[in-house]
């Protein structure tokens, strides 16, 4: 059995807030998670859910109150682990006085690469993230989007086995988002594990094999995206042309069709309930002269699922706090 790329066990972080009367603030509570090698894993949640806290714990920028975390089978924070990972922080900021090229070469030198290799890696990665001749400008002159691209490049300077992106699409224009999506897919194809936090669900839907959703510091759902969404089939969408109006009215009346949306002359999109198999209605309509265009299960979008899970977590937490 292959080892997990990332594993956390009951990872918890509490902060103390307030100067005179410090109170504990729960940033993350009992996060248990496993991410397999080669996965693109989406770590989703609203603002303040605990996503960045989790990433900082994995990078050992903060220490856990309790629980453990491992990357590639070794405790987080060890130099050996750091050699094999990459990290893009949220809204990255780098040294003003360095150029993009110098920054990447500086970071490459921390991995012990020789001068020629440092130059070659920096140049290749800046090409890959779309930084052109401006790579010779000091970073103080870079826009937010350009800094984000440099941030992504520095995270990949060592060809990492596991890469952590905290809000990788932040500050990017639509073209930039598309390029970074393609980059993440290329990383996946190379066998790199990508763990990224985001509150942009379309990115997760397009890229992830599995997701976890956190809200208010707690894991509220996790699993393969296909399973999460497949479980949530709530009906069928049947699109037909040349639909006889009388048959349609009859189906609407007896509840076999919940809603009929006209798409053009004699052409309808019909919402069917989950409980009734669509084959009988399809047979009735085709025998009355209608033609099948498409039949699809109606699934909840990731956004619907996300909103439901996060709302559930908020009400559960509110209830808990009320009981306390």
């Amino acid at each position: 059995m292959s080892m997990d790329a990332i594993r956390t066990e009951a990872l918890t972080k509490h902060y103390s807030v307030g100067f005179w009367r410090p109170r504990p603030y729960l940033a993350l509570e009992g996060l248990t998670l496993a991410v397999g090698q080669g996965e693109v894993f989406g770590f989703l949640g609203p603002n303040g859910a605990g996503k960045t806290t989790t990433l900082k714990l994995l990078m050992q920028l903060i220490y856990p109150t309790s629980g453990t975390a491992q990357i590639l089978g070794a405790p987080v924070g060890s130099t050996d682990v750091k050699r094999r990972i990459g990290y893009l922080p949220e809204n990255p900021y780098f040294y003003d006085h360095l150029t993009a090229e110098e920054l990447l070469e500086y970071f490459a030198s921390l991995f012990g690469y020789g001068a020629a290799e440092r130059r070659q890696r920096a140049s290749r990665l800046l090409d890959e993230v779309g930084i052109g001749p401006e790579r010779r400008l000091q970073l103080r002159k870079f826009s937010k989007g350009m800094l984000q691209r440099v941030g992504i490049a520095q995270a990949l300077i060592n060809d990492p086995e596991v890469v952590f992106f905290d809000e990788p699409m932040s500050g990017l224009d639509p073209l930039g988002r598309r390029e970074i999506r393609q980059l993440i897919l290329r990383l996946r194809d190379r066998g790199c594990t990508v763990f990224f936090s985001s509150h942009v669900l379309s990115d997760a839907e397009a890229l992830c094999s599995r997701v976890a959703i956190v809200a208010r510091g707690r894991l509220v759902a996790s699993g393969p995206l296909s399973e999460i969404l497949a479980f949530q089939v709530h009906g069928w969408e049947l699109v037909m042309s040349h639909v006889p109006v009388t048959v349609l009215e009859c189906a609407l009346k007896d509840g076999r069709v919940l809603k009929a949306l006209p798409l053009g002359p004699d052409r309808y999109a019909l919402d069917l309930p989950l409980g009734t198999p669509p084959e009988r209605l399809l047979a009735d309509l085709t025998s009355a002269g209608a033609e099948l265009v498409s039949l699809n299960p109606l699934r909840e979008t990731l956004e619907d699922y996300f909103v439901r899970q996060v709302a559930g977590a908020k009400s559960a937490r509110g209830l808990e706090e009320g009981l306390e």
């Binding site: 920028l61 220490y63 750091k82 809204n91 900021y93 040294y95 360095l98 030198s109 012990g112 941030g151």
Partner: protein, 271 residues
């Protein structure tokens, strides 16, 4: 990659950051100008001109070096944390101890180069002075204008500045630049009067106050020990043993402060 190489890599980046900082250039330019001006001030005094230039030169090196040590030292760690550049850096194969030591060595390198620039400017002014005065005046000097023995004072100034840097770095691992500057300059001032704390019982009646002052004497660094400016200007003997012991004393303090900095920094959460 060895720790020494990692520390060196961080140090070179600190040095590069410092030399690209306009504030540093302004400080060094001002110090060099002051040394040049000391030549004019020397002209106003009768017979003491060379001593004035020597005095002012050493004072300028010590003062501007102190400003560089404090004002760059207090921002070294704070700036990285505040601007969050430390997030990317610490995710690389670099321990927090290597980060602190690299920062310290980088500023040490910056200080050494700047002190060297100031010393060269100082000796140029002194050499020029030597060529412009009549031989009979020169014959009255106890030591040559460009007496290399004065470098002993520069050496101890450099050790003192490295100690100030270690203090600034220590405070910057957990407090804001404003507080760090206050603490560092406060310690520097108190450290120059440290010798008085040892004999505090002769001034106060309270035994507790005397004990407290005695305790402070051993805890606080004695900065006056590094000041041999008068001795070198007046060509008085400074035993090699004294130089070595004082440098060792500074080295031990620096080591203790760096250990404390690493201990504090290693436990810190970057929220």
């Amino acid at each position: 990659m060895s720790s020494i190489r990692t520390i060196g890599t961080v140090a070179v980046n600190v040095f590069r950051e410092s030399v690209r900082d306009k504030v540093l250039y302004n400080l060094v330019a001002f110090a060099v100008l002051l040394m040049a001006a000391s030549y004019l001030i020397g002209q106003l005094t009768a017979g003491q001109d060379i001593k004035i230039i020597k005095d002012l030169g050493l004072a300028a090196i010590a003062t501007f070096g102190l400003m560089i040590a404090v004002f760059i030292g207090i921002g070294l760690v704070w700036k990285e944390v505040e601007r969050r550049s430390i997030y990317s850096l610490l995710s690389k194969p670099l321990s927090r101890a290597e980060f602190i030591l690299g920062k310290y060595c980088g500023l040490g390198l910056t200080l050494a180069v700047n002190v060297a620039v100031m010393v060269v400017a100082w000796y140029v002014v002194l050499a020029y002075m030597a060529t412009t005065v009549p031989p009979d005046v020169r014959a009255g000097w106890t030591t040559p204008a460009t007496d290399l023995g004065m470098l002993r004072a520069v050496g101890l100034i450099l050790v003192e500045l490295m100690l100030v840097t270690a203090i600034a770095l220590f405070f910057s691992t957990f407090s804001s630049p404003f507080l760090s500057a206050g603490f560092t300059l406060g310690l520097w001032v108190v450290g120059h009067f440290n010798a008085d704390l040892k004999n505090f019982e002769s001034v106060v009646d309270s035994r507790a106050a005397a004990w407290f002052a005695h305790g402070l004497y051993y805890v606080l660094p004695n900065f006056s020990a590094f000041d041999i400016k008068q001795q070198v200007v007046y060509a008085q003997a400074v035993p090699a043993g004294y130089l070595a012991t004082t440098a060792l004393y500074g080295g031990v303090y620096i080591a203790l402060l760096l250990t404390a900095s690493v201990a504090v920094f290693s436990r810190r959460d970057f929220k």
